[in-house]
Symmetry: C2
Subunit: 553 residues, 2 copies
Amino acid sequence: MTQTPTTSPVEEKIYVSGTIHKDVRVPMRKINLRPVEGQERSLCVYDTSGPYTDPMAKVDIRKGLPRIREGWIEARADTEFRSGDVTSALKKIGSRMPEMDHTARRALPRRTVTQMHYAKQGTITPEMEFVAIRENQNRAILRKRFEELTPAEQERETRLQGESFGAKLQEYITPEFVRDEIAKGRAIIPANINHPETEPMIIGRNFLVKVNANIGNSAVSSGIDEEVEKLVWATRWGADTVMDLSTGKNIHETREWILRNSPVPIGTVPLYQAFEKVNGKIEDFGWEVFRQTLIEQAEQGVDYFTIHAGVLKDHAALAKDRVTGIVSRGGSIMAQWCSYHNKENFLYTHYEEICEIMAAYDICFSLGDGLRPGSIADANDAAQFAELETLGELTKLAWKHDVQVMIEGPGHVPMHMIKENVDKQLECCDEAPFYTLGPLTTDIAPGYDHITSAIGAGMIGWFGTAMLCYVTPKEHLGLPNKTDVKDGMIAYKIAAHAADLAKGHPSARDRDDMLSYARFNFHWEDQFNLSLDPQTARKFHDETLPKDRHKGA
Amino acid sequence: MTQTPTTSPVEEKIYVSGTIHKDVRVPMRKINLRPVEGQERSLCVYDTSGPYTDPMAKVDIRKGLPRIREGWIEARADTEFRSGDVTSALKKIGSRMPEMDHTARRALPRRTVTQMHYAKQGTITPEMEFVAIRENQNRAILRKRFEELTPAEQERETRLQGESFGAKLQEYITPEFVRDEIAKGRAIIPANINHPETEPMIIGRNFLVKVNANIGNSAVSSGIDEEVEKLVWATRWGADTVMDLSTGKNIHETREWILRNSPVPIGTVPLYQAFEKVNGKIEDFGWEVFRQTLIEQAEQGVDYFTIHAGVLKDHAALAKDRVTGIVSRGGSIMAQWCSYHNKENFLYTHYEEICEIMAAYDICFSLGDGLRPGSIADANDAAQFAELETLGELTKLAWKHDVQVMIEGPGHVPMHMIKENVDKQLECCDEAPFYTLGPLTTDIAPGYDHITSAIGAGMIGWFGTAMLCYVTPKEHLGLPNKTDVKDGMIAYKIAAHAADLAKGHPSARDRDDMLSYARFNFHWEDQFNLSLDPQTARKFHDETLPKDRHKGA
């Protein structure tokens, strides 16, 4: 382990090196606590913030982040640089990043460059070792073996044992376990070969529950700077991936700046941009413009695509008596397209061609739930579940192409109907990772949907969702600003962690226990530093008891 | 039904009259919506805000609220005015409320004046009819019978049917059902004969899930004005009861002002004041000072008392290996007392005398969980459950005296261990209402414990908790200010409503469905007005789309 010294004594950014792949360096945040009985104490926590929080790193957003995966990708010798028409088109659109030199790669002809492909061949990639180390968070150092525990500690471990509902949580994650999970399709590492800046992370129900943050401008809203700032801000508060849902001006350029400066995987909904290209005219929309958009975004480096291939022509009828119809924008466009052209969804009919594109860049499917319920009233209905069955079929087809897949889920679901979603998804999609929005457990609190949905998110994470898509207080009302992004992130880090605790994820409780110990012993600074948001905790404390002496022993 | 006209066209305060007791007038908030196909539409919602939101009412906090229950209490002819030493003592302390004329009542000798007593005798009191009307929220008017529904509506009702875990939810609450539930101890109406200002409400798992807000000053914090303001503010956002946990100066006077101005039941922890009287000296503390404090607060009109009678001398040993020991202030004082005096808890040994006092004023027990866990690590441990078993025993003893009882519950519990708490409480305490704080589902987010605990509160409410005690963002860090009170209240109204939906409470979904309909049809004003916090929803919307035309069709 190499340690990067920092100016702050309470917090350090450290890097843990790989053993199979020596150039793997996994970032962690080490929180140093006050010594107890002369003994140094610290806790390592998962760190999604990238080089931005490394005092030794010099970040220049005009140059983009270091391309930590470039050597790994090159060493595999299965890709080539592209100089075809699409790349030229990109250059013409012009990312105003003068100091940037991003030349797109793609797989050599007849080669598949996905993590799933390597995994099936038995290869442990640097990406796999990276996520194995990352998931463990140095817990081997902290964690005593059960037989070394005192009787009181043993009683506690037994009493607090989790309920994982069939998830196969590991005491210690090995690179081989990661490889096996990816080969089986139970986990994914979103890592486009054109996004070498990303620090690999894994999404699967046998790993820590992850959180995605949506950002993105619209025709009436923010600019590029603001979106890059939101990206960095979201990862600062723990976003594991970020979706850029921009639909405004400069959509391509915005995405370029985001990708080059993102330490986390980036997801998009290519349909949005493709549909803009035909000025939102359903009659002009179709496979060709969509395919071209896919390739453009693939070459930019998007790590996962939401693809609404499960909204079939016959499904629309199932949604006709709903209170809130079809609320997914992608779902609504595709339903309209099927109806207007009286044809089956082209994303479904061209699905294997999409798989081939995904395989050539290692882009993950995020199979969209275009028929997700938009209200409690429409939860778990025939339309939603018909689509889910189609997504199960598409999952197996993607796997045939060695393409990684996760499945999007609802939405709006009352508490008592949440588990049915997870059970059905696991069954239909053979344990492909589930990626859910919320769900909101009631519709009566616009302005507070980070809370209505944190309740559902905690529960669905416990039941088996691998990644939670955050909901901000602005949901249904407007686009999130920085404050909203933070509020959404904190609510979802809470939900994800509560889920890890309930599943019985090894060591999830360490942070709770250390914070509780600090709280009970009035070690205020430790309590603040161990919390998800030390500044706010400290500020709230100081409002009532501002004196320094209240923070010490 | 009589309607009080208001100046606001979207919102009206209405009163629904009783049929058994003609002078029963139950307040509701009627939200008027835009007509659809020429048809007027509205929704009545539960209204805890008292006369403060009635434009026809003149409230002068120096005079206190109208004593709506005074006539009902007098008509029962089982009470007398007190002029004894305690009341004189009170006058000496002096509530600086010059225009107030509060003379304390108590039961005539050998009479029991509790709602449970009347219920067991077969009497439907005005309080019982009041709560029956209140729980129904005019839903008989809204609700179509199942056979009148369209096939799509029928499908929806079947699909969204709740899971009540054995709760006996009624399509329509009758006064007789209320009486029966109270007689069986499954529900309580906290209504001290000395708090005639209170608008009766019911706590029980076969009724709507309720929310309590804690307020109260401390030695270092706010004054009387601020506490009365917080009370009114909390009820404005839906607090069903309020606990005054003041420990600062003028504790008695603060309580007097709160009681005389509170439309909701007030709870206290008499132990706090009793212990102040002996300057926190455990050696001087005991039954006599406690008894005197109980009577003082009883005569002031406190509706329920937290009594830590379940913390037995032998229980402390069970908590010795905990990460966070005993965190309940009351529990900790009583454990200390038992240890110092080497005697059994005097609240336990004098329990039947306490019952007699409670019976003479109709004060409800809120049997305190002095050994509740203070951290995830200590959840559901032997200490907590030993106390719960004692509380079960004490419940039956209180019922023997016809005293109403609810049981306090945790605290800090990971999601997978929440249900065990409810199941065990229902079993030990023969379905006496459960009243839980949170629970927090993780300890890592001080500053956001309204969210860590809203997750647990939603779940525990679904499983059967009758009333949720809110947690504000300041929990563990300081005393809540007005913003915190509101944030805590909204988070808990969300949790309570999500629980009602999941249980399948009749008509709970009406508000969700109407809001969803408004949302889908871009009836922005209806969406705002149906939400828990219209101002915030409107403000968030206007931040992105400030133009008026975005709010209409």
